[in-house]
C-alpha cells in the first residue's frame, strides 16, 4: 500500500518542529471526483474531468477580472498529507529522493500548485480542468497563469535588471 500515511523502507522522517511562522486562511474549497488519495491522479491533465473551485465569502469579490484568462494557477493545501518525511521512496523500493526534488504531496508545507484550464464561471465558483486533488481540498490562492499575465503596475528598476552571463 502506498500513498497512505506510512513511512516506507529507507524513508526518513524528522521530529516535527511545529509550523507557526505564518498563518493561512482557507479561501475556498475544491470539488473533484476523487474521494480517496489512492485514486487521485499523480498530476492533473488539461483534458481531465471538470472540477469546481468554490470561493468563500468575503473573498469572492477578488475574482473580478479572472475571466480575462483561460489558464489559472491554483494553489491549494494538501490537508491530508504528512509533513515530516524529508527523504521519500516513491517506488517503495528503498531508493530515496528528497521531498524538494519530488512533486509529492508529502512536504514540510504541503502546498500544491496546478495550472488549470478555466472553462466556466458560475457566480463565485470556477469550473476548471487540470486538477489532481481530493474532493474537499482547501483553496489558498488563485492567480492568472504567469505566461498569460502582463503586469499592469508601472515598471520598476528591477524589471530591466540583467545578471552577469
Amino acid at each position: 500500500m502506498v500513498r497512505e500515511d506510512e513511512v516506507r523502507p529507507g524513508e526518513k522522517a524528522i521530529a516535527w518542529p511545529g509550523a507557526e511562522d505564518a498563518g493561512l486562511v482557507f479561501i475556498g474549497r475544491i470539488r473533484t471526483p476523487w474521494t480517496n488519495r489512492l485514486d487521485c491522479p499523480r498530476q492533473g491533465r488539461l483534458d481531465g474531468p471538470v472540477c469546481r473551485i468554490e470561493v468563500f465569502e468575503p473573498w469572492a469579490e477578488a475574482l473580478a477580472g479572472i475571466d480575462n484568462y483561460d489558464r489559472v494557477e491554483v494553489i491549494y493545501w494538501l490537508h491530508r498529507s504528512r509533513r515530516d518525511i524529508l527523504l521519500q521512496s516513491p517506488r517503495s523500493d528503498g531508493e530515496t529522493r528528497g521531498a524538494f526534488s519530488l512533486r509529492s504531496p508529502v512536504r514540510p508545507n504541503p502546498i500544491a500548485t496546478s495550472m488549470v484550464a478555466l472553462v466556466g464561471i458560475e457566480g463565485s465558483t470556477l469550473l476548471v480542468r487540470g486538477l489532481d486533488c481530493l474532493d474537499g481540498t482547501p483553496l489558498i490562492d488563485l492567480k492568472p497563469d504567469r505566461c498569460q499575465f502582463t503586469p499592469l503596475a508601472p515598471p520598476t528598476p528591477g524589471d530591466a535588471q540583467i545578471g552577469e552571463p
Copy 2:
C-alpha cells in the same frame, strides 16, 4: 507612491478575519539584490541576477536529487504584504481588478510562485535566476518544474481519467 502599504482610490480593503486555518514553517531564506519593494522586478526574468536560496536545517536533506532538474518552482512568503485588499488598482487610476486576477503581492495568502533556472548548488544553498522578491524573503517550498518532472510513484486510476469534451 505605489507598492507601499496604502489603499489607493477605488481599492477595497476588508476587515481582516485572521488566518489560523493552517500554519507554515519557513524552511529557508532568499537572498536577492533588492532591499526595497519599489525596486523589485514585477516578474522575475531568467536572465536576471543570480539569487541565493538558503535552506535551513533540518530541511536541507530534502534537497537530495534536485540536481536532476535545471528548472525549479520556488514558493515563498511575501512577508511585507498587506492581505486585506480584495480590489486593487495597479495603475493607481481608480480602475480596479480583483486580487485573484492579478499576480500582485497583496493577496489573502501572500504566497508567490516563480519558475527559476537552477544555475548552481553550494551545500544547502541554491543559486538561481528568475526571482523577483525582496532580500530576506522567507522560503516555504521548492519543487521540480512540473514540465520537467515525471512522477516516480506507481500509476493511479486518476492518471487515465479524461473528462467529457
